[in-house]
Symmetry: C3
Subunit: 158 residues, 3 copies
Amino acid sequence: MNGQTPAQKSAASGALVVRAETLTIQTNDRVELTDITDRLRDVVQASRVRDGIVSLWSLHTTCAVFINEAQRALHADIKRLLETMVDRDADWMHNDPQHSDCDLVNADSHLRAMLLGHSLTLQVSGAEPVLGQWQRVLVAELDGPRSRTLRIQIMGIS
Amino acid sequence: MNGQTPAQKSAASGALVVRAETLTIQTNDRVELTDITDRLRDVVQASRVRDGIVSLWSLHTTCAVFINEAQRALHADIKRLLETMVDRDADWMHNDPQHSDCDLVNADSHLRAMLLGHSLTLQVSGAEPVLGQWQRVLVAELDGPRSRTLRIQIMGIS
Amino acid sequence: MNGQTPAQKSAASGALVVRAETLTIQTNDRVELTDITDRLRDVVQASRVRDGIVSLWSLHTTCAVFINEAQRALHADIKRLLETMVDRDADWMHNDPQHSDCDLVNADSHLRAMLLGHSLTLQVSGAEPVLGQWQRVLVAELDGPRSRTLRIQIMGIS
């Protein structure tokens, strides 16, 4: 639906199909945004579900998914906002060995992911995820570099 | 379900129906909240899907949807919080012609929408979206005035 | 799926089943996080929906649901971040009898819930909600103590 106007009305009915698979991405920085729109579209098209929904779920507490534009300048602004809203160096209890059994010193990663969210549920129409002209599906690595797994489930009418 | 207690338990089965249409709203201010609960309810009722879900998707990067109460005073507070959390006048890279091909000077709009989110997936029961007594479905225009399009998809058993 | 690797690929089809019920929790503090993962898993298992989705919806404007780790230290950090981002004592209009008919003085609760979100839509696989190893489903009471109701709807193939 990139650049196209969505159909004004549509209707379909039939048996329910549910398909799922995982997508793995390797990140290179501590905080990094990855555009997975094309990979998500490929998975939806391969599922042959024509009308329905696609759920995208990050299987990690410190890795988020969200919608925004793909632009290098804006992505720098997003990282800066996350740094301003959640200070990495504040004395978070999660980073304090006296209170926490986690030695990753990543309280900021948990808190930033909480603000962005760990999942998206998109509409599927014509075997494609429905997105506005400038909308892209972005993964936010917040405690990389790591290998991250996203579960994609498509559910609808084939 | 406004003001009513949701049924404690329910169950239904049948063929899957998927219906979709778009809703267009015209906004008048740069930052503006619009209550579309009644229009969403009308679309759900007209779909004749009795049990299932309804996805509401903003097709724009700088227009968000979220749940809260409809009250003028609270909506003023929401706008004030967004202004405090994301300063319109900071030197965002997205607003800098040296780094960005976008001349809308709307980095704040992108960042505020990211915090609110671009979609909602509501439950449908008895051909109505399930909402708590004080919950309303709100659209946040963050870079108006503009014409905005939301895609509504209802999926379930009719 | 706690601690397990999700199946790489899966597919199923059949008639759609939609089941719903409500979950009530009693909170004890003004701001309190409750881990409901086990209760959600029980409801999903009892529904006998094998593949599909489960929607979790807070029926309150000042009660949110979100994903994160269950750790006492991190939960203290989450509360602290919410307090920093949304100052309870600012002169919010929602708390001002001149502008608001609400006498709960809970503008901060509305604003904090807006940032966390009122719903989650999780995938269901093998009659279990799909979650990463460290992910837990958390309810954020933001204006307690109160009795809170969440609606859980499971939709898929049994």
